[in-house]
Symmetry: none
Subunit: 217 residues, 2 copies
């Protein structure tokens, strides 16, 4: 899981903030501060040299700004997680950052503890962002897209069976299904046995695959 510390790189042009961020991160077990730079001018070489796992990127910087820095990082090292730091929840910036592949979006006034949490979250595959920014992102989201239909023959599965198959597709275990639906584990077993018979499969994976491919969900 975690052999080494998380390597963090900071881009922040304000010396005071840069310093306090450095102290915060440098003093945290599990994190290794590999750099704290005042601009993005050498971002293309900084990244391979310092090999950060996570970059904290101020969005407002002279010269190459944070959005541009983000783009350059993602162009060459898409696996590096980049969390943007900003003062305002400015619609346009959020939009640009999201389009450029930002992995998180925090306000500078975020309390230190939350900031550390955020680094952990982004390492775990999450995308930390404040609710207000999240709302911006949702607003930016395009409304269209093809609605999917179903309502076709659910292949002799009973309603209950379909329901349970749906939960399997969601990744539920027997236990979770039993708990979620308030029935016993053995009942879940019974249903799933039936589902297997009807779908002609012999494992959860086969059932899930068949369900997704045949639109039984």
């Amino acid at each position: 899981m975690e052999a080494a510390d998380t390597r963090v790189l900071i881009y922040e042009d304000n010396p005071d903030l840069r310093l306090s961020l450095s102290h915060l991160l440098g003093g945290t077990p599990g994190l290794e501060l590999v750099g704290a730079l005042g601009n993005c001018q050498q971002v293309e070489t900084d990244i391979p040299r310092l090999k950060p796992d996570v970059v904290l990127m101020d969005i407002d910087m002279p010269g190459i700004n944070g959005i541009e820095g983000l783009k350059r990082i993602k162009a060459n090292s898409p696996k590096v997680s980049v969390v943007m730091l900003t003062v305002f929840e400015d619609n346009d910036r959020v939009f640009q950052a999201v389009c450029a592949g930002a992995d998180g979006y925090l306000l500078k006034k975020t309390p230190p503890a939350k900031l550390l949490d955020a680094i952990g979250e982004v390492r775990a595959g999450g995308a930390p962002m404040t609710p207000a920014i999240a709302r911006q992102v949702l607003r930016l989201f395009p409304k269209p897209v093809a609605p999917r239909q179903q309502e076709d023959s659910p292949a002799n599965l009973s309603a209950r069976e379909q329901e349970i198959l749906g939960l399997l597709v969601e990744g539920y275990s027997y236990k979770m299904i039993a708990h979620d639906r308030g029935i016993s584990l053995d009942t879940v077993r019974s249903h799933i046995k039936k589902i297997y018979e009807k779908l002609h499969v012999r494992s959860m994976t086969e059932a899930v695959s068949k369900a997704l491919r045949q639109g039984l969900t």
Copy 2:
């Protein structure tokens, strides 16, 4: 700013959870629980009758599911805020919910205090969501423009790992994979462990579901 309490309506088919949510919300000053319903069948009449400010909507419900309920609410009462509740951070559902105008997206395991916070946030114009879900939303976001990379669709899986994931999707067991590829069972385990880490899942079913939904096959 706030003269009256925030009126909250719950849709949740699991009676236990419905009850505990009811107790939680009912006992919180500033909130008024106007209903806790087990399904969305009457959503069109529930809303005008109960006049909620915020709706907590379970995404997995028999009959009319949460996504459909959300759409119906937004069709007639777009000003009502709807926060979706789910067990898993499932790409497809998140996508549908976001497209249908969800105002927040939380895991059921969210601790009570966070849940109450979330209601406050949504009233304040924010969009509460967990980092993991936020990440899904960002991934869904169209990445237009020049640098058309997306080496992360194949999501950092190595060639071998993708190959094995493909076999899982086909319903192969560990044994079958080992035999088919002429490697040991333990090696199959190793690969699958790696795949789970990279996909952030914990079971074959989740991996298969994610693979199929994200087109990793």
